[in-house]
């Protein structure tokens, strides 16, 4: 493989340099029906799960077919998406915030052939390439982070648990039977690149062992003051260590203060936390971002720890399914999972979801903790 130059001259990096041009402008990519009717849409309606139309003032309609997919996507797969878009949608498509792909057509007769084409495509291993669904009072795609495919701090994988969970929740991806829409999100460590902290159900990777200390290299690889400053609980202090007969500068960790956030590791590669038994999954529930009926809510920790059970995380997926079934059975129409839990009371939530309430679930982290304890005589037996 011979090196092929793009025209860039490393000796003169500023020569003909183009920078600060930003993204391509959105309206280059609007399908004609969108360009024409932007800002004049009147209403929308679902034809079936995953398929809906919008009507504009002009009387024009745009029909959207939404399909799920892994956000980890090869160019081979993207080229297939392009091929479908050209075959059915004049070469246009879009992606949603939750990693779904939407194919838009401007008349109803184009919908059925499009769906049939999408549903007929399967990977060699047997899974659907483009399952139609993910709308309305059902479960849409899981947003997630990188996990073991590309990140240095994860406490679990991302793509694997997502695939395993969506396989278990697949029926609800293709249905509108839930009381309201239900958003599942995954972040592979508590840095939460995926901001899962306001999801109906959050799958969160968590470490449980304090950092290992690579004394031999620590001072060479890290700015020790930065590692110390990175610790939110002030558990790290500078320390001189006897290493192979020599005094080296390093750090000491007050282990019972460690909250396993991994911030020190982010600043200092000589403090790794990852551990086969230590790492696993926290399940959180009851968050939302919409302002509909009640204000947005944070998700609450409802299961403190489930071990990483690669490749299919059976206990994680079973726990999620258990919570969703209890919610589906008991909640009122339009009620989000968190609104349901608050209405029946969290004591009832644990009972109905058949989840054990352990001491780990009582907040003991600083000020907000007090506001989560019960300051009333009102409770349910």
């Amino acid at each position: 493989m011979a090196f092929v130059s793009s025209g860039y001259n490393p000796d003169k990096p500023m020569e003909n340099r183009i920078s600060d041009i930003g993204p391509r402008k959105f309206d280059e990519f609007y399908p004609p029906v969108i360009a024409k009717n932007k800002g004049t849409w009147l209403y929308h309606e679902y034809i079936q799960p995953g398929v809906y139309y919008h009507t504009a003032k002009s009387g024009d309609k745009v029909f959207t077919v939404r399909v799920g997919g892994a956000r980890l996507m090869s160019t081979t797969h993207i080229r297939e998406i392009c091929e479908i878009a050209e075959k059915h949608c004049d070469g246009y498509m879009r992606f949603t915030t939750r990693n779904n792909i939407e194919f838009l057509v401007d008349s109803e007769d184009k919908v059925k052939p499009l769906i049939e084409d999408l549903e007929s495509r399967k990977f060699a291993g047997g899974s659907f390439k483009f399952p139609v669904g993910g709308t309305g009072a059902g479960i849409t795609n899981i947003i997630h982070t990188q996990g073991w495919i590309h990140c240095h701090t994860p406490a679990t994988d991302a793509s694997g648990p997502v695939k395993a969970t969506m396989d278990v929740l697949f029926d609800d991806f293709k249905d509108h039977r839930l009381p309201a829409h239900l958003r599942v999100s995954l972040a592979c460590c508590l840095n939460m690149c995926g901001a899962v902290h306001c999801s109906d159900i959050a799958i969160l990777g968590y470490h449980r062992k304090p950092p290992l200390l690579d004394h031999e290299y620590l001072d060479k690889m890290c700015e020790i003051p930065l590692a110390i400053a990175a610790c939110p609980t002030a558990a790290i202090r500078p320390s001189k260590i006897e290493f192979e007969g020599q005094k080296v500068n390093s750090v000491a960790v007050k282990e019972d203060r460690c909250m396993f956030c991994g911030n020190c590791y982010t600043m200092c590669p000589s403090m790794p936390l990852a551990d086969t038994e230590g790492d696993g999954i926290v399940i959180m529930a009851g968050g939302k971002v919409s302002n509909r009926i009640s204000p947005p809510k944070f998700s609450k920790v409802v299961v403190a720890f489930i071990p990483n059970e690669a490749p299919r995380w059976p206990r994680t997926t079973a726990t999620i399914k258990q919570i969703i079934e209890a919610y589906a059975k008991d909640a009122n129409k339009y009620e989000r999972l968190g609104e349901w839990a608050e209405r029946i009371g969290w004591e009832r939530f644990f009972e109905k979801c058949e989840l054990e309430f352990t001491h780990h679930l009582i907040d003991d982290f600083r000020d907000p903790a007090y506001f989560t304890w019960r300051q009333t005589s009102q409770f349910k037996f």
Binding site: Y8, E45, C82, I101, H176, D275, D279
Partner: protein, 437 residues
């Protein structure tokens, strides 16, 4: 014959949901065959080694990626994240496997022609593995080597008129919902504002000068489909301040069962006939709706625009006509000191080009945060440390009860000297004339 055995990952090929393992395998095969005669600039078997190292992580229950080194393109401090494998001998194809963030277009609309161009570039100079899209919103190019970074950037800017996104302590790539392009709820043009501010602040996006990351997200209405209120340092949420127009005929059509409630979003179960009292009026958080002479009445002054009634009856009720947006600030995920939701700073501002009023608020906040923020301190944390009053000073905004959910319940007010009649300078001897020691 695959380069590495993957008995664990193979188990993720079955089941209905699209399998990323199957996709990676097909990509490995396409590269091995190379029917398009691509002059690959990074190892041809890169995807096989990627699958191999992932399988090893499945076996160990631990990642095999190291910290990023300092890699990037000349003149930028973001957009590239260095990544190295910790088992380079075993998986040489992914020894260097850097990420590039490519700034997505607003609304994530694409043409096949454009996406294919990106695919061509990425097959040629990278792994051909992507994220569509990353959590922040960028197109993510996953895996290339250091010498290719400048080449990709050069080609991207010269041939495709496309720039990188943000990473590190700078303005992260702004992102938005679908907005008025295809949504009747959008109270402003999210694409236009997102694009305008992205272009306006290119310097802040590419050259880290902030204490930490800073995110803009644009939601067209209070339904918040891009979750701006939970994760953006500045969250722009569409709203309106006049009345909800009511089409009484359509209301009757909902009551009569001619139109399914909520656009048919509840079609998977028999919830019984639509009951406007139970499903709309009783669920209104401000009790501002009632039926009178078969008409749906709204006391609009009391409405807090939660969107529920409009979501349930989109053909009968619409967002108002006097539209704009609210700005909420300081949202972040739990690291370090717990999660924060965005707090209301600007209850209403019009979203009209050139958006000067909005930019003035942004720049006031940045000046304050860059002056006072500690290393790795998000805006929300600075707000907590120094107080909401400092934010008001920084932005020149007047206090408004809409900024709080309730007034303070302690009286520990940090009065300023100029607020107190006569100031703080007093004469102890004068005091003692009337008060013995």
């Amino acid at each position: 014959m695959a380069k590495h055995e993957t008995p664990l990952l193979d188990q993720l090929e079955s089941g209905p949901w699209p399998s990323f393992v199957s996709d990676l395998k097909q990509q490995a095969e396409v590269r091995a065959k190379n029917e398009a005669n691509v002059e690959f600039q990074i190892p041809q078997d890169v995807v096989e080694d990627l699958i191999g190292v992932l399988e090893l992580s499945y076996k160990h229950g631990r990642t095999h990626w190291k910290h990023g080194g300092i890699v990037g393109v000349f003149g930028y401090g973001g957009g590239v994240i260095g990544r190295y494998c910790d088992q380079p001998e075993q998986f040489p194809g992914v020894a260097h496997f850097h990420t590039m963030r490519v700034n997505q277009p607003s609304g994530k609309f694409y043409t096949a022609e454009y996406l294919r161009q990106l695919c061509d570039l990425w097959d040629f100079r990278g792994s051909g593995v992507t994220n569509m899209h990353g959590s922040t919103g960028d197109i993510i190019f996953l895996g290339t080597t250091t010498p290719q970074l400048e080449e990709i950037f050069y080609e991207m800017t010269h041939t495709y008129n496309q720039d990188l996104g943000g990473s590190g302590s700078n303005l992260r790539t702004p992102s938005d919902c679908i907005g008025s392009a295809r949504c009747e709820y959008a109270c402003y043009d999210t694409h236009a504002l997102c694009y305008h501010l992205t272009q306006e602040y290119q310097d802040e996006l590419h050259r880290p000068a902030f204490p930490y990351k800073f995110k803009f997200k644009f939601d067209g209405c209070p339904n918040c489909c891009v979750a701006s209120i939970a994760r953006a340092d500045m969250s722009y949420i569409g709203t309106w301040r006049d009345d909800i127009p009511v089409d009484q005929e359509a209301v009757q059509a909902y009551i009569g069962g001619e139109i399914p409630p909520n656009g048919g979003a509840h079609s998977g179960r028999d919830w019984g006939p639509f009951d406007i009292q139970k499903e709309v009026i009783d669920l209104c958080p401000t009790d501002c709706m009632w039926m009178e002479d078969n008409k749906l009445m709204i006391d609009n002054k009391e409405c807090n625009r939660c969107m529920h009634c409009i979501n349930v009856m989109p053909r009968a009720l619409r967002i108002g006509e006097d539209r704009g947006l609210s700005i909420l600030v300081g949202a972040k995920a739990p690291i370090l000191d717990g999660a924060q939701m965005g707090s209301m700073l600007v209850p209403f501002v019009k979203a009209e080009e050139p958006y000067d009023e909005i930019k003035e608020i942004i720049e006031g906040i940045w000046d304050w945060w860059m002056e006072e923020g500690k290393n790795r301190e998000r805006l929300g944390e600075l707000m907590k440390r120094q107080g909401f009053q400092k934010l008001l000073e920084a932005t020149g905004l007047k206090p408004d009860p809409r900024m709080v959910s309730e007034p303070r319940s302690n009286p520990y007010i940090f009065w300023k000297e100029e607020e107190v009649e006569g100031g703080w300078t007093r004469d102890i001897n004068e005091f003692r004339k009337h008060h013995q020691r």
